[in-house]
Point group: C2
Chain length 504, copies 2
């Protein structure tokens, strides 16, 4: 391997260089990793579900053992608090364990059988059985805002390994030390299981070219990405322009609109204001599910809510953003937006860290400025004051794709809420009722996706059990003798997989 | 609507212009159709499964009533025999009825529930329920080679309507009269059901721009396509380069490799030769599942097979191809291939129609000429003579993506066959055992897809019950009160949908 240089990490809290030198991986490293992954792909996809479940548990155990060092390093590299990172590590191991359950359940194989009918006229009906198999080597991009749960051993890697796909991670350059420590845990787990190291490779580097060359590599068969529209769309385009285009599962941004209906507001304006401030400032507004726009009716309760939010935003303590680049982007975009006509701004004035920005506008101005739907990454949000509930409903018809949409309603609001449900289904992957969008449950029913740009593949989710389907494709076996069939489809059902037979 | 001109159909059997003038639809027609489809999309996706099932049955009934006229027109426009077209019409109505069953079964909704746990620490676990909903208006491209089953009311349209998506068909310019007659049946069925006509529109025309403008239209949310790599890839690229990229389900070609193992050949060389000739010449070789390459061992039985195939190919009756353009493409590509070194040619000499071409080569030459994997659309195939079964196995490792792969084996071949199964799973959507790839069952377990170029979306199938999933995306509902939930997720389960609860 040809490493021409190295790079270091910065502590965003004080701009100091952190210890540790990390390789700037080159094209030759990408070739090595992708080719090695392809070489073990066939045997890895044929390991038993029990083996892959054990691997996932073993990675979780290794992470637990290395918890202290990982959390400390992640704290230094991201400025996220220890409590949050400890929670995120627990979430990461919970994800690994969920996918261990998923792979053992066999539901992911979607075994479907057609019974043969040799007597059918005009032609006999063949025995056909289908199952899902692994796609092959998967590239995963680490996300800046979740150095653990959406990075090296995060949900994309866990679900891909569960599916039986080798993984090549392109680590995020903001937390290379964290990535390295986590990759060591995975290496130990593979070693413990006597599985080849080529099943998992971490590539590090600061150049855009590294990511581009991973996505372009002919042996890579799918990509998982969480990040910005600009970076994600560029990689998406590369994936689609390859001689063999590949599925690119990109989560690129969302405004996560919240609709507070009048009766709800009348009864809870104080607590809604508190919850909103908490949700938009959580993790310094660096959550993909941050509520970036809230629609309210400009009545007395709405005015009360606004007044509380304005007061609350001024008292927000400053927080440190993940990187200097993210901070500059946040400040510049907020500054530009604050100069636009039709918005009024209230902000905090922290001694340290970045200010939180609250914009207000009218429904009329909102209609004229569709660019305000574009997410600004950071503790910033817009409140849109509507003339009436009907005015608010009309705005729900012109939203861009989003990960979530939230409805706050009391029973007296349900007629309006029912209409909103139908509208918001059109544009979002998850509808939240009387809650806030931040906080994504890792569960069987979760959908973390939605129409573009929330996801480049709106039929998929990047969180929850169904995320495993991104790395699978179906294969049908026609008139195949039992002894040549894969185990999941054999008559005796040795893996005890749930089967759908003739549509039942 | 601004129709500037019209076009006519040609009878490929005699190059005569057929009666009937068809509109050359323009951008304004595309706008009108797509906008109208978008306007009814929300109400159409919310029709009950029973209503959509009834619509599909009603379309099937209308087609049955119009059978004679449709088949006659399709015969004149395609030169396909009446018996084949009558069979294809029956297949088309069977597809419509299958999707009626699928939509009523509720399996397509994939209802998944997480049970709430308010006591969970550190955070309560919310109630989350997910279902699939329709993507929105779908564009379908009619295929030249199946004027009924893969065209106006074919599998793409049937599955999209079942999912609850309005459909805009871009009819194939080779059979506009057939498309128009079928579209009339759909219009009658919509009328009978008192559903809006905007649920289905047929656009006709001969220009590439028409298809491009359909794929580019912002109201179109997914595309179904069956056709050539050149045309399909161009439209795929347009779909991916839109501001909002959309899923493009394209079936672009396949070589459908067949492996005949030594014991099988020793016992059945004669019948295998007959079956092969039948399969490759079926429908004048214009099937996407035509076996375009057959691997045999060059032993005595293999030589016997070859000799029978050579003799059989010379006696093939000539058949008429679908269009003059397809015929010219077939003759030119076959001519170019016949001049390449390393291939020997045997062909038929029919008085009418096009000749069938059989190429032979060695495994050594095959390795050196990867371009021979490219499909030539028409009655043409290559036999690759391998030195041994091991030589054959090695060739199975370097195949392009394909719709099918076939293994012909006796029990004594099973050790070799088991290795082949693992290799061929990697490159194909369907493995056929001791059969031939032509003839695609319309059933629950069918997979008609596979790695690129067989499909641009390898996780999908374009035939069979699972084809409905192409037009759906998941939505999760978090903590939603029962009365606001969609029916499929309500506690009382009024639609009687199968549910997965907490992973069980």
């Amino acid at each position: 391997m040809n490493k021409t240089s190295t790079f270091s990490a910065l502590n965003p809290a004080n701009e100091q260089v952190l210890e540790g030198q990390f390789p700037e991986h080159q094209q030759s490293d990408v070739d090595f990793a992708a080719n090695a992954a392809a070489e073990v792909a066939k045997s890895f996809r044929q390991t038993s579900p029990a083996i892959r479940a054990q691997l996932l548990h073993s990675i979780a155990d290794q992470l637990e053992q290395a918890r202290e060092g990982i959390v400390e390093r992640a704290h230094l590299e991201s400025a996220l608090p220890h409590a949050r990172l400890n929670g995120e590590l627990s979430r990461t191991t919970a994800q690994l364990k969920l996918f261990a359950n998923v792979v053992e359940s066999g539901l992911w194989q979607e075994a479907i059988f057609d019974t043969a009918d040799p007597q059918r006229s005009p032609l006999p009906k063949p025995d056909i059985r289908r199952q899902n198999i692994a796609l092959g080597p998967v590239a995963v991009f680490g996300a800046s805002n979740f150095p653990l749960a959406f990075s090296t051993a995060g949900g994309d890697s866990a679900s891909a390994l569960a599916a039986g796909c080798p993984v090549v991670v392109k680590g995020h350059p903001a937390h290379p030390g964290t990535s390295e420590k986590v990759a060591e845990c995975i290496a130990k787990a593979l070693d413990e299981m006597s599985l080849p190291q080529a099943v998992f490779t971490l590539l590090q580097g600061t150049s855009h070219e590294l990511g581009q060359s991973v996505v372009s590599h002919p042996k890579i068969k799918a990509v998982g990405f969480t990040g910005s529209i600009v970076g994600g769309r560029a990689l998406y385009n590369i994936a689609q322009q390859r001689p063999e285009p590949i599925p690119f599962y990109g989560e690129l941004g969302a405004s996560n609109p919240v609709f507070i209906l009048p009766q709800r507001m009348a009864q809870h304006s104080e607590s809604l204001a508190e919850e909103y401030l908490l949700s938009m400032n959580m993790g310094c507004g660096q959550f993909c599910t941050k509520p970036a726009v809230v629609f309210i009716v400009d009545d007395n309760a709405g005015k009360q809510f606004l007044s509380s939010v304005r007061q609350g935003i001024q008292n927000q303590p400053g927080q440190i953003m993940l990187t200097e680049g993210i901070k500059q982007g946040y400040l510049q975009q907020s500054e530009l937006r604050s100069r636009e006509q039709g918005l009024t701004l209230t902000q905090s004035q922290p001694e340290q860290g970045v200010p939180a920005y609250l914009f207000e506008t009218t429904s009329e101005q909102w209609r004229r400025n569709p660019q305000w739907q574009e997410e600004i990454f950071g503790p910033q949000s817009i409140i849109v004051k509507c003339e009436s509930a009907e005015d608010m409903l009309e705005l729900s018809q012109n939203l861009a794709g989003s990960l979530t949409a939230t409805i706050q309603a009391e029973e007296a609001d349900y007629a309006l809420a029912a209409t909103l449900v139908t509208e918001l289904e059109e544009v979002s992957g998850r509808l939240v009722f009387n809650g806030w969008p931040t906080g994504v449950e890792v569960s069987y029913a979760m959908v973390h996706g939605g129409p573009y740009p929330a996801s480049t593949m709106p039929a998929s989710t990047s969180v929850g059990a169904e995320a495993i389907k991104r790395w699978l494709r179906p294969v049908a076996y026609q008139s195949m003798p039992d002894q040549l069939l894969p185990q999941a489809l054999q008559q005796a059902n040795p893996l005890n997989v749930r089967r759908t037979i003739d549509g039942q």
